[in-house]
Symmetry: C2
Subunit: 346 residues, 2 copies
Amino acid sequence: MALQKITLKPTTKDLAKAAGVSRATVDRVLNGRDGVRQKTVDRVQEAIKKLGFVRNLQAANLAKSQSYHFVFALPRSGDQFLERIVQHIDEAMEIFSTDHISCDVRHIDENDPHSISDFLDSLSPHEVNGVAIMSPETPQVRDAISRLQDRGVAALPFVSNQTMMDSDWVGINNRAAGATAALLLGQFIGRQEGSVMVIAESMQSRDSLERRLGFDEEINTAFKQLRVLPSLETYGNDARAGEIITASLASNSDLVGIYVMASEARKPLTILQGLNINPSIIKIAHELTTYTEQALRAHTLDGVIAQDAGHLVRSAIRRLKGNVDQRRTIGSQENIRIYILLRTNI
Amino acid sequence: MALQKITLKPTTKDLAKAAGVSRATVDRVLNGRDGVRQKTVDRVQEAIKKLGFVRNLQAANLAKSQSYHFVFALPRSGDQFLERIVQHIDEAMEIFSTDHISCDVRHIDENDPHSISDFLDSLSPHEVNGVAIMSPETPQVRDAISRLQDRGVAALPFVSNQTMMDSDWVGINNRAAGATAALLLGQFIGRQEGSVMVIAESMQSRDSLERRLGFDEEINTAFKQLRVLPSLETYGNDARAGEIITASLASNSDLVGIYVMASEARKPLTILQGLNINPSIIKIAHELTTYTEQALRAHTLDGVIAQDAGHLVRSAIRRLKGNVDQRRTIGSQENIRIYILLRTNI
DNA sequence: ATCATAATGAGGCACGTGCCTCAAAACAAG
DNA sequence: CTTGTTTTGAGGCACGTGCCTCATTATGAT
């Protein structure tokens, strides 16, 4: 018992004693209040190091009645991947409710940077501690994020990358994801020669460009017998998608593989399904959704490159919280992996 | 401000008021102390439900000076997978230190159930709140786990399954893992006919049996042109491994694939490397280790079926903590996924 | 109705930190 | 040395819960 007492974590009281100051001064130093001589600050810092003091966050939050409120700013869309994200936000809220974390999903118009900027500007640090933002990169959004951070609201690019914050975002390495799709597709196709179709929603976004880059790189080095066709852009338009896919099929009779790069694979895959293409053509898509899951099971889709929606959400929350707590939150836990899903390991 | 106050979480004080009892009685009910009439208990329970009260765990732990100490009981072995587990335990301790969780790694002799049982019996609930146990299943261990739980120490089978606690353990579905290995191997091999070698450390363990079961199932239904050979058991003995692998190679000239089922793939793969086998033979192994990572990169290994060591560790800790806190901790977060790793998504 | 017993209430201290006030001490400038 | 300013200390209350004691009230059996 006496032994245990020794191993207990030091408190601010211990700190005060060790530094030869009062608890009030320790508090001033710990919370960066001014009116403390540099000499005294140093003494306290020294004691912190010596004792290995770490502030008891739970006690501090209790004293401050601190609670965390985060906003997920997501595109408004019927996308199944987004649906899954939202589901996982709900689940995460339950998990994190014991930490007094709550979240809010707000839908933004991803094609209207002005309205996104307005929305971000409307967030007050008194109501919102942090925002996870899934939005394509534009100057307006970038500036709004800067203003947000200046106001003391943490901002975290979510799934969609923003160049400005290269190191601090939540999502996969899209170049590696593209390469993985290529490697899987190439291996599944085997020694056969032929061309590969790439279907994207748009090649405007950074994500698409990076995936395509990684895809081409891998195919061109490891599968020289394959010919990658130019990306077909659907622009989220079904009619257009049907036309360009049909046209491409007609002019490429040697098709051996299809890579659906968009995060909403349902539309392109449905169209392909309707066109009754050769089932031996290997098909790889992105993201696990109700549709892709079922397609995998039905053998109409051969593989899925995915990021774990739940992990994305929880990682974002942990990082936003870490930001509020002024902690560094790096660590392998926040590394979002590139999942390969086959019908056996969904 | 006044509005905010309303949305604040209810406290035991609020509960007392709502139930028309004192805080002392609320405390008696919440902490299961006796000497409270059923009628009163019901009234309090009702108020809990009505107000949606949830105990503030941080405050409670502060009051109790609660801290958590967990033990990881792992086999003593030079296994690279185990090394990685230990690394992740260290990392996890840092992450969870703010929650006042500490861990201890203790090595057990996996082939000596008696010593394992003795070790488990030696753990006192005053020093250890929970144990994650990685050990093959034996009656002695099973009984020791039961005694442990009776004494109030949480026990959690870790990576190695124990039949007794089918629902409550940390690890992957080994049958699905075997099936995934089969599917990947089959697809990579393509239309080619031939035989497939399976290398295990031992077929005594439940994990191995399940992997083999899943593997055979998938090969026999989806890849009928492949012939799966009987499992080669190395018993962790290098000389023996060299002999049986060489012998099997000699008598199966139509080999097209190799499945290394053991979690330590280094030895078998090194041996195969030394035998200069045809590089077009597809090789799949388990677990990401320094060796398998390098082998993937060097194209001497085609795929790895893995479980995320960090995730395993963190999940175990969360579940042990949940047990101490008397919470249910299910949720998609604790589902350990089967990773497929290629050289592009390590 | 009486008494023993069971059930409940009132109140207080503790946990570690944040935040406040007021007084005391240390310091710098004249 | 005096004055004004800066720095520090002492102390206390708060956060929400656990846990304790002691007094009081309700209950059931006789």
